[in-house]
Symmetry: C2
């Protein structure tokens, strides 16, 4: 579960490792090699065996890449990782480059000469990524060359083994739909696309389709696997047999042919060799697989993975499960927030202590509920004072701060339960907040409420809803530099597409989609504010005089919002009504299960304003 | 200027004309022919010589297309034209098909057999359109074949001549920028795209680049022409010499080579033959031109026309001109609205009478201002009662309605002045409005105000602003089925891209862009409501405590909004403040130039609420 994010990279070793890589490149007649932060499934979190970027360069951030040429090497990072990369990467081995100014393709094309050959691992690049970088190389007369085996793996001694987390069946009572029905719905989509088969590499897509869960990768409940789904005929699931118990294997064998991942390429060739049309998402499928369809004579139909939208629209069983998970998760939050209010005045709580306490409350609440916290759903972000202003902050022992008096504490966390995935952020006043903090918090809250109580017609997309959260900030000359919400899986990834509330949210919101609602406000060097609840899209209650069926949101998260930070005078009557009704729901949900002390705390924390 | 839109098609003749077309197709070994409503410049309004669709089928709407096969023909129209097309098209000659259910490509591919050859005029299709339809044909083994001469022209006896409206120079005092500076800025964009030349076919783009105006097409001030702009070297302007006076020709010859449009293809071949890179917008350039670049050996660089964004960002001279045009136009509106309030109770005003009166007021106000109304900027939409609910309603003698007591009257109109183009919609209570009318009007007004007083950071796009106009309607279960705003030219087209406020408005709003703000509400068979002002994007005044530079809108239109339709109780204090401040501006702008009677009317019409 919680692991303090201490540096895993080995700064001193990177120069030697890069030199060893260069030797390999020479043997393969390559002038360079590109190292992404990715695995074969485009997973958000990587298994240790896929942490090639960290092993090679020392850089351990969650996003970035490297390019090694014979006379130069660079690590590319975005703004949030500039400082970390500078600390982790040995400047004698590689320079740190800001992607915003110099993206890898630009850096590369400025250095390549006609005829140069740059290697890449086609299992770690999506089709779209490989094409884009290939074009940059071709523009200067060089070529991007797929390697048959990753040269890093050949020199990486003591590379961790690939994970073998046991696979479990996700019961139909929680999934709400059996595998045959899911396969039928996928087949219908394939028919619409005139495709014979669908190629899947995303772990979440496969876990949803086959109603399985696993534990290969931290925080993500989907086992690593590949699959070929057919319009007609049995699907094939490519998964390491060691992850399957006899019972699981037997259940899966009822609906699918099970094979080792090593059999995947041959299966694609068999499929493509008969000139069949194979659907794959160029943004998600490894280039190695997409290219194989074409070279084997098949027709690659490029399009969105149809399971993404099917998975995003949760059914009744999944929504009911989410409600139960949030009840449990909210109880843990309430106990944590009450504990924090008691403990923080003593001045001894720090970020790591808060994270550990919250995890204990989550484990206990799940246990009392007869359930279990399977995992946290992502590395908890807990930022005291100025650390709260670092949007993707992860504490380590060097950055760990006490919760100072008269500061703000932001904590963003979530749990993986078998019936649902949660994600919640609360910002808490430690001591007495300033008027500015209260003004900003109230604007964030009003934006949050603007989204939560929105009514909107079918066809409305996330970019349209995103604005509702920003209006109170725009009015004051403020804004925040992240989206307002992301999709969330059902006991799957805490970040799930295609739905999102942001400038790039072009997918229409549909009933059953679960999204976060998390506007924020950040003052660098001082504090961060964010209020995050999860919501599910629902048909809205009929509005008297209304002419069109409208959609709305049901808020799932059930935890109090800090009233000490609310300036009620800034809020409209409907905004205050929403907050009071929400707090009444929170109180009713948890009061009976709390100790008298915590219950009294909750009564006060959820009083009407 | 105003022309009553009586049917120009000849219903009885269409069967014979279609038969004659089929004979031509047989001679050319074609199995069908596609007839779009378009000219070579993708003009919004067509010159009579380009009204091939109306001549052939009798259908006179502003959007649609036809496909003629040997045993079947169809006219494709959108929802607003279904009734009109059914009345205009002889069912023995062609069926009327709703594009929403059966788009032309789908209709065609369901009827074609492998080997069939369908003709199209590559001058009337954009590259993108030709590719899309060509793909539909190829999918069923047929082919889409460009014709070298449009077969309709060969059978169209008494076809009107192409227009020869005289070209005028647009003075630098109004344009705000000389031609050499514009050419330099285009050349910079070409450099960024690594293109040697830009191919232009849109009349507005050429008028902007060369600071010329004309009168080839009703309501549009841009002369029909083509151009090749070069990164280095002189541009070429392809325009019928008969449109140029000696003075205009001489002025243009200082900066460009002038040639006849018939010399265009040879010029493209010369350009492309030297393997140069030619930029063209596939959504705007005729397929005939784009294809010629490629077949002649050039590299077609597909991308947005860079003049679109340059033209959209109005400079100070253009914005000042717009302010003057709106002052003049608003004065005409005030006099018209005062006249309407005096006349309509007598029960004799009808839609046509109102349109004619408004045009008289526009002509007079411009004359008194020492200026001139060059044209109206589009066919005035004047809808009494239920006609107001027809979003694209154009009156004709058959549909003309009196302005009934206790109804709403919607009038959407605009003027072309040398210093600017206007577009304004007002909805007026005739007699006593119902509570529902007032509720809906107030929601429309609140949406309008939400846009008008918005503050937003740089990078905000039109789709984000569009939502602000819908919130008061969504709250009540209502919505409207059109965008909230379109770009507007400077003495150019009243519809101008790339900026727009709508679901497809993905372009960031930038200072100087002029946009309409026109939310609406429609009850079929009863009434239509729309409130439209033009606005210019401006840097917003600094907000105390604000952290980011924000943008906002300055409203340009200066005409009262009918207070009899406003339910002040529904509005917030800031909304009422905006309306009162706006009305104070309107009063101050016009009071001195009004007769005592009109001034008294304006005082009352703009009283604070």
């Amino acid at each position: 579960m919680f692991q303090i994010f201490d540096v895993r990279g080995d700064r001193a070793a990177s120069a030697g490792r890069i030199a060893a890589l260069r030797d390999r490149l020479k043997e393969e007649n390559l002038d360079g090699f590109v190292v992404p932060h990715a695995d074969e499934h485009q997973s958000e979190y990587l298994p240790p065996s896929a942490e090639r970027l960290a092993w090679l360069t020392g850089f351990t951030g969650s996003a970035g890449s490297a390019i090694v040429l014979h006379d130069e090497a660079a690590v590319f990072v975005d703004g949030r990782y500039t400082l970390q990369a500078t600390a982790e990467v040995d400047p004698a081995a590689a320079s740190v480059v800001a992607v915003a100014e110099t993206p890898p393709g630009k850096w590369l094309s400025a250095r390549l000469r006609p005829g140069d050959r740059v290697g890449y691992d086609p299992w770690l690049f999506t089709l779209a990524e490989a094409r884009k970088l290939g074009k940059r190389c071709a523009d200067v007369g060089a070529s991007l060359v797929p390697v048959t085996a990753n040269p890093i793996d050949a020199i990486w001694t003591r590379r961790p083994a690939a994970p073998l987390g046991p696979v479990e069946l996700h019961p139909q009572g929680l999934a709400g739909e059996g595998i045959p029905d899911k396969l039928r719905r996928i087949a219908t989509r394939l028919g619409e696309k005139k495709a014979d088969a669908l190629l899947l590499a995303h772990a979440d897509a496969i876990a949803w389709t086959f109603n399985i869960r696993g534990s290969d990768v931290a925080h993500n409940a989907a086992p690593l696997a590949f699959a070929i789904i057919r319009r007609e005929g049995r699907p094939q699931l490519f998964i390491d047999a060691r992850k399957l118990s006899n019972a699981v294997r037997s259940a899966l064998a009822d609906v699918a042919d099970i094979a080792e991942p090593s059999a995947l390429l041959a299966a694609i060739e068999a499929e493509a060799g008969s000139k069949r049309r194979v659907l794959a998402d160029p943004e998600g499928i490894p280039a190695a697989l997409g290219d194989r369809v074409t070279t084997a004579g098949g027709v690659l139909v490029e399009g969105e993975d149809p399971t993404a939208l099917l998975k995003a629209r949760k059914n009744t069983a999944e929504i009911d499960g989410a409600r139960r998970a949030h009840l449990r998760d909210g109880l843990a939050l309430v106990r944590f927030l009450a504990w924090l209010d008691r403990e923080s005045p003593r001045g001894e709580v720090d970020e790591i202590g808060a994270i550990e306490a919250l995890e204990r409350f989550r484990i206990a609440a799940a246990h009392d509920d007869g359930s279990a916290l399977v995992d946290i759903s992502f590395d908890t972000m807990a930022g005291s004072g100025p650390n709260g202003a670092i949007i993707h902050y992860r504490v380590n022992r060097a950055t760990n701060r006490k919760l100072d008096q008269d500061s703000l504490f932001l904590i963003d966390s979530g749990g993986q339960y078998r019936d649902g995935t949660t994600d919640v952020t609360r910002t808490v006043a430690i001591g007495t907040p300033t008027a500015e903090m209260r003004d900003r918090f109230t604007r964030v809250l009003r934006g949050h409420i603007g989204v939560a109580r929105a009514r909107f017609p079918a066809g409305t997309s996330g970019v349209q809803i995103d604005v509702l959260a920003r209006i109170p900030q725009w009015e004051a000359g403020l804004d925040y530099d992240h989206g307002t919400g992301h999709g969330v899986g059902s006991f799957l990834s805490v970040h799930e597409g295609p739905q999102r509330l942001s400038k790039t949210g072009h997918v229409a919101l549909e009933p059953g989609m679960i999204l976060s609602n998390e506007p924020g406000s950040y003052r660098t060097g001082a504090y961060g504010i964010r209020i995050e609840n999860l919501m599910v899209v629902t048909p809205a209650a009929a509005i008297p005089g209304g002419e069109r069926p409208m959609l709305g949101f049901e808020t799932l998260t059930l935890a109090p919002i800090d009233l000490r930070l609310v300036d009620a005078a800034q809020m409209t009557r409907p905004e205050r009504d929403w907050l009071n009704a929400y707090h009444a729901r929170v109180r009713a949900a948890h009061a009976k299960r709390l100790s008298p002390e915590d219950r009294a705390w909750l009564e006060d924390a959820t009083r009407a304003i």
